[in-house]
Symmetry: C2
Subunit: 348 residues, 2 copies
């Protein structure tokens, strides 16, 4: 009969105290030996290490975290897990965290702000050392973030960022990217360029739209609101937005389209094909993010190569530096991108 009751199914593991008792030393000595502290006799250290191995000792990070007020854990909140972009970001986060000895609690908001709030507060309860967040589409109230920061939990935003609330942000220069790819189309000679825009609630949506506008302005072209169709980030939205644009009179119809991202472009392409229009002869189209599928299309998609892994890695590295007090928060970090020129814009 054991002396204690454990909840059903909970593991019964050896404690440092028990090792100490068996060795006739104190728990502190065991702790010191296990943590490689200098002030412990070589022989006792060896005895402790041997006993720890023999009895299958597993340090209890829960107890350790309680007293140290450190979990060596980072909370990650992404709006979606499938689709090639975020998994690759997560891989970057994981690599950087692993190197620095941090673990990841992964949560996913499913683009829902309630679920995101829920995730953040549970993550706070679990006392993560910091938060890595890419905001959900429906988020409008930023007080949750500010409160966390106020409480002393550092946040680094990535990809879909929130500026000017004291958190660092890691992303590409969305405005500039969209301006560049729009200008690429302008140089091709397209005269009527449309934009399938992302949700205006997230940084990416707003900034890419602004980039599109700026490119037009800089090149003396008129911005026409009717050439901007709300698409969102997914195929379906891109399809619907394109359907809308193709309903314009032949005279007003665009001869080129800048989609907010690749999935949106895929949807638009489907619509274009259904209308029996050719890409790029009848309508040129470009995307952003370089989805794995982009170059496999019949008319491979010209797009902006967005280094997802780098974004994740940099975000995690930045957060860890802030957690360890080696970097002041509030930095704006831009990851550079490059244009992937393929066929859908009329090149090649």
């Amino acid at each position: 009969m054991g002396k204690k009751k454990y909840p059903k199914g909970s593991a019964k593991l050896v404690t440092a105290e028990e090792i100490a008792a068996r060795l006739g030393v104190s728990a502190m000595t065991v702790s010191r030996a296990l943590n490689g502290r200098p002030n412990v006799d070589k022989k006792t250290k060896e005895r402790v290490l041997a006993a720890a191995k023999k009895y299958g000792y597993t340090p209890n990070h829960i107890a350790r975290s309680l007293v140290l007020r450190r979990t060596h854990t980072i909370g990650v909140v992404v709006p979606e897990i499938s689709h090639s972009f975020f998994p690759e970001v997560i891989r970057g986060i994981e690599d950087a965290s692993y190197s620095a000895g941090y673990h990841l609690i992964l949560t996913h908001s499913a683009e829902d702000d309630n679920r995101e709030q829920d995730a953040i507060s549970t993550l706070e309860s679990k006392r993560v050392d910091g938060l890595l967040i890419s905001t959900a589409q429906t988020v409008v109230d930023h007080s949750v973030y500010s409160e966390a920061i106020g409480l002393g939990v550092p946040i680094v935003f990535f990809d879909r960022v929130v500026r000017n609330i004291g958190a660092s942000c890691v992303s590409i220069d969305d405005e500039d990217c969209c301006a560049r790819i729009t200008e690429h189309l302008i140089r091709h000679g397209y005269r009527s360029i449309a934009h399938l825009s992302g949700p205006s609630t997230v940084s990416i949506g707003k900034e890419r739209l602004r980039g599109y506008q700026k490119a037009l302005e800089r090149n003396g072209m008129k911005f026409k609101p009717e050439l901007v169709a709300q698409s969102g980030f997914h195929e379906k939205g891109g399809y619907l937005a394109m359907e809308k644009l193709l309903k314009l009179s032949p005279h007003d119809r665009p001869d080129a389209v800048v989609a907010v991202n690749d999935p949106s472009a895929f949807g638009a392409i489907k619509s274009i094909q259904e209308h029996r229009l050719r890409i790029p002869q009848d309508i040129a189209i470009v995307g952003m993010s370089d989805d794995v599928r982009a170059e496999l299309l019949p008319s491979p998609l010209t797009t902006i190569r967005q280094p997802a892994y780098e974004i994740g890695k940099k975000a995690a590295e930045t957060l860890i530096l802030e957690i360890e007090g080696k970097l002041e928060p509030g930095k704006r970090i831009i990851i550079s991108t490059e244009l992937a020129v393929r066929k859908s814009c009329g090149c090649l």
Copy 2:
């Protein structure tokens, strides 16, 4: 000046005790009110809830876990994060866990057994309530798993499983799937069918090879070892394996190929194209797992649709039931699949 010292950057959060002091009640009353226990006066409960909100109280799950010996956290170990399959599995795991009130610590072994062991032991130290594992390619020693199970930490394997060590396994019926798709080729009339095999160290590799063999046997065809080329799970391996097969004399060269998975098939296709052979006229090819790219190829790839989300969801549900003592471990759970017939096998 605060009375206590905290490590640099650690958050200073309100405790139940502090709330209690401000309200002139005991910490226990606060605890009871916050956890919705019945034995607390309605009015005091309201006061506590109001104060908790006012002072921004965040329950400390670390302390709670220490006393309850429960973290409500599941450790996940995947061999890779990119590529469409595992992210989708993770989404299934996340959904099921979220519904049941569990969080996920995500680790990735990068196909390295040392890193996998490392992940498992840290996860144990963090006292996760259970483990969800898909084994790394290089793993040969299963004692790490057995020890964890022996310690009382339930494990559920998914996709790449380890049978007969007392852990439940969730996967497709790899042998049957591979047999089915091989027989599909046989019915097409192909006479010399090759196999690009996965690593023999993981369940999937072994079982799919066996399925391929069985399909041949059942149909009175001779198994020829020279028609099996080691490919591994990635494009590069598939390419190299196919190169090898194409070096066979025209008489021995296969007229159809069963790849262990879609990425391997993609590599093989590249090799086939470089040899200026046509798919499926000169060589038919099929894969398994239904990668997003499969249907975008010039000759869309016939493959087995593998419900990644379902696998993840079922694995998490199973683990949670075991954690909560509602299910005995050691179950073998098969997720059903279907054939996605496209052009690369000669159909359509």
